[in-house]
Amino acid sequence: MSKLIEVAGLSKTFTLHQQHGVVLNVLRELSFSVAAGECLVLHGHSGAGKSTLLRTLYGNYLPAGGSIRLRHRDAWLELVGATPRQILEVRRQSLGYVSQFLRVIPRVSTLDVVMEPALARGWSKIDAEARGKQLLTRLNIPEALWQLAPGTFSGGEQQRVNIARGFMVTWPLMLLDEPTASLDEANRQVVLELIGEAKAAGAALIGIFHDRAAREAVADHYLDMTPATPAPQEYCYAG
Amino acid sequence: MNGLNPNAASQAAGALESGYNFAYLDEQTKRMIRRGLLKAVAVPGYQVPFGGREMPLPYGWGTGGMQLSAAILGADDVLKVIDQGADDTTNAVSIRRFFARTAGVATTTRTPEATVIQTRHRIPETPLHGEQILVFQVPIPEPLRFIEPSETETRTMHALGDYGVMHVKLYEDIATFGHIATSYAYPVTVDERYVMDPSPIPKFDNPKLHMSPALMLFGAGREKRLYAVPPFTEVVSLDFADHPFAVQRWEENCAFCGSHDSYLDELIVDDAGSKRFVCSDTDYCMQRREPFEPQQEVGQ
């Protein structure tokens, strides 16, 4: 299968200038790759830097060194050192990210939150609405809530709204940060189906799944992130 | 005094006063104003600053117009002065007598016989000819002033032709009254370049500015600005395509002369509130009533 992302020698450090310049080495020399239709599951205990890795891959955290190359518009693009404009373009077209936390925008309705990635790609409003409603129905968000801003929803509802948003458009490459955490059995099953469909469509996935059943259902490979000799302060920051 | 009709160009009231320079202002001042006028004629509609002098009457009584008249009057000129179209109001009479006494020029009330006509707020109904100069008394020369208080800014706006705000005022008129309610001091574009305030003449008179054979000079005494519309210059009143410029019309005719195409003043003639409409231009009205009788100077 063709590789969609190749990571080589990736490190991430945090320098805490407000705390006497303490330097935390969270990721050290990570190398891996993921091919189309595969799911790589990050493995390691809390604090091993799994979320940090996903955020670094997404460009949310600035890598300290190494290389992240991914397929974007039929070419390889190096994300380390890429311009903000390139990263935004990659996020719009090639790289999806689903976390368990929804960043609520005041006054924007649930349906609009879900539709946004499609509108950003230039879909028509009609197409985007159809797809958004279908996903919300599938994830058991009552229709009565669609026109409300999700700020007042329960944690589980917000999470499902965020998942609908994440799967709104097809991504060649998806990052999943515990998408099934704290979901009930029925909804977890829906999310696993969505992940399965994305894989079948040829997406490469990198995910964190604490729930063993979910992990085993989707994983093709594992990346062990347990540090050889963890420094104590790394526990207090990462994770 | 001059070769025109000796009846119409009547002798000035009182003899030429001694002790004054010709037409009151000193020659240096008159030259300075004439240089300003040449510039104004060369750049139609552009406001030229000039070193305005104190005149022996208050601002607002036509000091700007008088300084321009003083600068252009020659010994053989025939002067007519009107105020709102009338030759016989205090302001018109005083200014006419002022120049008769300080310059000894002939005066007249007959529009066709005058060579210089100083006016406040009207253009005569009788068409002007190429041998005449019309001098307007201007209170506020800056057409942009109503919306832009800064002089630096209005000058920049003129320089850059940045005239969008002029239509803002007309827009507001239509939005408020359903039509362009500005009825006097109606802004015009001169020679496709400068927007100009034609002084508070009724917009009825605006079409007379366009391609006029007579030279039009404008003087603002308090603001010390003068500007000009040379003969045969395009003068276009601002408007909207769907609300074109239009002048006032009256159902009535003049109660004296029966004119139906001159600018009419409304008079309340009795305690019952009865109205009559009469010509604002007294000379025009007189000529229509007594076309063959020579006029005597009125208001003396």
Partner: protein, 270 residues
Amino acid sequence: MSAAELIHGAAVELDQPLFSVHDLTRLYGPEKGCQGVSFDLYPGEVLGIVGESGSGKSTLLSLLSGRCAPDRGQVSYRGKDGAMLDLYAASEAQRRTLLRTEWGFVEQNPRDGLRMGVSAGANIGERLMAQGVRHYGQLRAAGIDWLQQVEIDPMRIDDLPRTFSGGMQQRLQIARNLVSSPRLVFMDEPTGGLDVSVQARLLDLLRGLVRDLDLAVVIVTHDLAVARLLADRLMVMRRSHVVEAGLTDQILDDPQHPYSQLLVSSVLQP
């Protein structure tokens, strides 16, 4: 996915910078003003400038919009006709034309950006009139359309801005700027003086307009939440220098410079 998506994508690929800034400097005193600022802005991109009061944000905005001249540096703008214009070499007339056609400027205080003495409709129509629209009906239609777009009751088209609330005035100012379909809009703390609830509504409106109209925006704000919501990327200014620049969420979630870290850690949940 759809044809529209392909066209949109292709257009983005072909784009040249709309606005290029190189080594822009103007100092009023040591570290007062701004110095050495360079960046490129692309169509549809929103750049946030953050930093504390006196860090040089507003000076930078004045320089960028051509309201004052720099000590050194260049700003060039690619016009609708595709030609690059050197902002400071251009004539005052060209700059003014830009500022009322292809550019917009949203002031912090709507009183500075509106004509308070004329109606809402006239405020919206002014740019069109300046561009030569001489049809009252068209101006009226544009006024009603834009009042609706900024969520003001069109019935209020003939009301004076002073009868509007602060939030409405700000929305009116935005409409007044956007009516000429600008490609680049400068905003100086647009939500500065507003209540939190009113702010949210305005931000939501701005987000929608920026996306729908493909506007490039330079927005100065000291509110990091506003920056996160609107800006694609950020420049952090301190004492006249840009200390850090990059993707908005990266700067807010993983700030590198000591001052950025202090700024981010000083606010509650940006």
